[in-house]
Amino acid sequence: MKKILFFVLSIILMTGYAKALDLEYFQVYQPKEGMSADEIMQIKYFNKYTLFAHDVSYTGKAYFIDKSGAVRERSTARKRLNLGRKSDGIAYKDITVITGPTQFKGIGTLSWTYLDPNKEQDVWLYLPSLKKVRKISASEADDSFLGSDFSVEDITSRRFEDENYRLLREENFSGYTSPFNQKTYYKDNPCYVIEATPKRANWYYAKRIIWIDKKYGTNIYEEKYDAKGQKFMYIFRWCQIFNVDGKEFPLIMFQEGEDLRTGHRTVIINETAEINKGIPEDQFTERMLGTSRW
């Protein structure tokens, strides 16, 4: 009897799971009129993790700017291979290497993310001071991403299933002027405004207000609020549209965030991006991570 109940429950859960992931890898999705907040957010996450592409590689820089204006810099090279493979449950693999400054050069991570939203990432770390690849536990979702103002989940691990969503309104975005480069982005751009509340109790934020680009379904701006309703963080993202094989792929090329409690800001710029270059899966192995020369 227990087995039958377990089987029925599994079927129900799997059906629900399939519904939540009914977007197929390597397709391009854009929001349509009349979509629910959930549907818009599914597209948003699909775009965030570039699941429309087979592979993506970037080189870029991160700037950590404290309240006094002092700047620290990191250069990085990143590659992602999207798999969406049901046989071993792997959604995608990432490899990120710090290429500068010298004192951090060579530090690299390899991570495998699984289709199952309840399954944590597998992560390997290469440390030049050990000249060794070590298996490590995935960072806590609310931990800082590489010392930036973004949390780990802001960049790598937050999923559609982690929050509840409510469509607040549709409006033209007022525009964002970057303190870093003084450019103004997305002025009067039509957006959906969605409220996202975390399913975890006592999480480090109580809600996020997100502005989603109506045309491409990308998250262009968000604000995080604490339990007292106080805004403590904002993140801006600019996407460049790449035309590949007649399809439009939105890639995040500029991100800027500020922790309003500390006045510390982070800017992440992707200087180069390449899509669908046929990166083989053997580039995403422990061996490749361990061949760093630094």
Partner: protein, 475 residues
């Protein structure tokens, strides 16, 4: 052989740079200047004041071929300030100033093949700070096991051949024709091993006729002879390593095998030599023995929801066949001989991130002498001895380590504490804090506190506790 390899390496390196001058692209040069200062808190004396310069260069011929070389030069001023640290000046070159070609190798990738040819270091194990599988390179223990692993290992010329038959698996063959012995601090230096000190004490007392005891009478005591017997420099004496790495049901595992000369020489009593007039010369030979190691590693992160979620398990295990093991009476402070035993070393480590910024790493290891200990060589009082202290070695040594790390201020400040100890009430506590002053400048302030009996690995340094400050400028 080594000189030929060195010249060949330098020629390749020079060629690469000359070539790079014309191409400009593909060449990367980096370097650093570092000062390491350590003050002994018990002896109230500097234990280290080392200036280090490191230069690294990489030239990428294309995506699949690259050449890499790094040089390191240092000078530790304390050996000039305090002559007693190395009164015999035997170790001057090694300790005080050394022009080291650290790395010099060519990387070639071709489909499933990856070759790294040249001077390099290779790490096999998953353990932190405990060398169970990491026996491919000799180690520089001038400062015990305190420095980073990358500075502890002494790179060797080798062929590192890898073949990947499928994604995530790798077969590695290492052929190491080069040989260097593991090095240690001279007998009066802050981190000199007790066994080295005892031997030097014996030698000095014997030769200065201060020997306590009646026989032989002073007029029959000649110099103590010590010889070191390196393995013959021929290709047949190459160390051979083989590793298979794969993944099974979400668990990463390796199978490892190593055969070759141990990098640590053991001292053998080769019998007294009777000189003219009946003068007695004690005669000792330091010899390197062929050993085999078979083992493996296993690691896994529990990714599924549940109690174990987020825990990373790491494990190394090895059997050393015919490992030279000292024996003798621990009360005497010297070894009576060496037996060749099959010993086992295994470790399990657990890592977990807690709260938001805290990482805890715990390791438990056992070093097991796979033999009954009483009655070695017919003497009930004889016990296996620790190579570095001549203290009694437990048949089963339980080793623990606990490391707690955190970070603040956008990861600019990183405190951590390491507590490494055994069940013999001896160990080391090493808190430190690193501060990233700028993109190019890093400061590290720390303290090494040793405790325990002088006959134990950590306890022997209980008078060498130190506070240290490292400043590193990289470019």
């Amino acid at each position: 052989m080594k000189k030929v390899l060195l010249i060949l390496g330098l020629l390749i390196f020079s060629f690469s740079f000359v070539y790079a001058e014309f191409t400009k692209d593909g060449l990367t040069l980096t370097g650093y200047i570092k000062n390491e200062a350590a003050l002994g808190t018990k002896v109230h004396q500097m234990q280290k004041f080392k200036d280090i310069v490191g230069i690294s260069g990489e030239y990428k011929f294309n995506e699949n071929i690259a050449f890499f070389a790094s040089f390191k030069y240092w000078y530790d001023h304390v050996y000039s300030w305090y002559g007693k640290y190395d009164s015999a000046q035997y170790y001057m070159q090694h300790i005080q100033r050394n022009d080291w070609l650290r790395d010099c190798y060519l990387d070639i990738i071709s489909g499933p093949w990856f070759l790294r040819l040249g001077k390099q270091q290779v790490a096999w194990g998953q353990a932190d700070g405990i060398a169970i599988l990491d026996r491919l390179n000799p180690v520089d223990l001038t400062e015990f096991w305190l420095p980073d692993a990358v500075d502890l290992r002494i790179p060797l010329w080798m062929m590192n051949i890898n073949y990947s038959p499928k994604v995530n698996s790798n077969l590695q063959l290492l052929i190491i024709p080069d040989f260097e012995q593991s090095t240690a601090a001279p007998p009066n230096a802050p981190f000199a091993f007790r066994s080295y000190k005892l031997f030097m004490d014996f030698k000095q007392r014997w030769e200065s006729n201060a020997w306590i005891g009646g026989f032989p009478p002073p007029f029959l005591r000649g110099d103590v002879y010590t010889n070191i017997y390196y393995p013959a420099k021929k290709f047949n004496n190459s160390k051979i390593g083989l590793q298979w790495k794969d993944r099974f049901l979400g668990w990463d595992y390796t199978l490892n095998y190593l055969y070759g000369y141990d990098y640590l020489a053991r001292t053998y009593n080769d019998g007294n030599i009777i000189g003219p007039g009946g003068i007695i010369h004690p005669n000792y030979g330091r010899k390197f023995k062929l050993v085999q190691m078979a083992g493996g590693s296993l690691n896994h992160t529990f990714t599924q929801e549940g109690l174990l979620e987020g825990i990373t398990l790491r494990s190394d295990a090895a059997v050393y066949l015919d490992e030279p093991t000292y024996y003798g009476d621990p009360a005497r402070g010297s070894a009576s001989g060496v037996v060749r035993w099959n010993n086992i070393f295994w470790l399990v480590g657990l890592d977990r991130n807690f709260f938001t910024k805290w990482t805890v790493s715990f390791q438990f290891a056992q070093y097991i002498l796979a033999h009954e200990t009483p009655g070695i060589a017919g003497h009930p009082e004889y016990k296996p001895l620790n190579s570095y202290t001549y203290g009694a070695q437990d048949r089963c040594e339980n080793i623990f380590s606990l490391k707690i790390m955190t970070k603040f201020y956008n990861e600019r400040i990183k405190p951590e504490v390491l507590w490494s100890f055994t069940d013999d009430n001896q160990g080391r506590v090493s808190p430190k804090i690193s501060y990233e002053i700028s993109d190019h400048l890093m400061a590290t302030l720390g303290w090494d506190y040793f405790y325990g009996n002088e006959k134990d690995s950590n306890g022997q340094f209980r008078k060498s506790n130190q506070v240290y400050l490292f400043l590193k400028y990289s470019f």
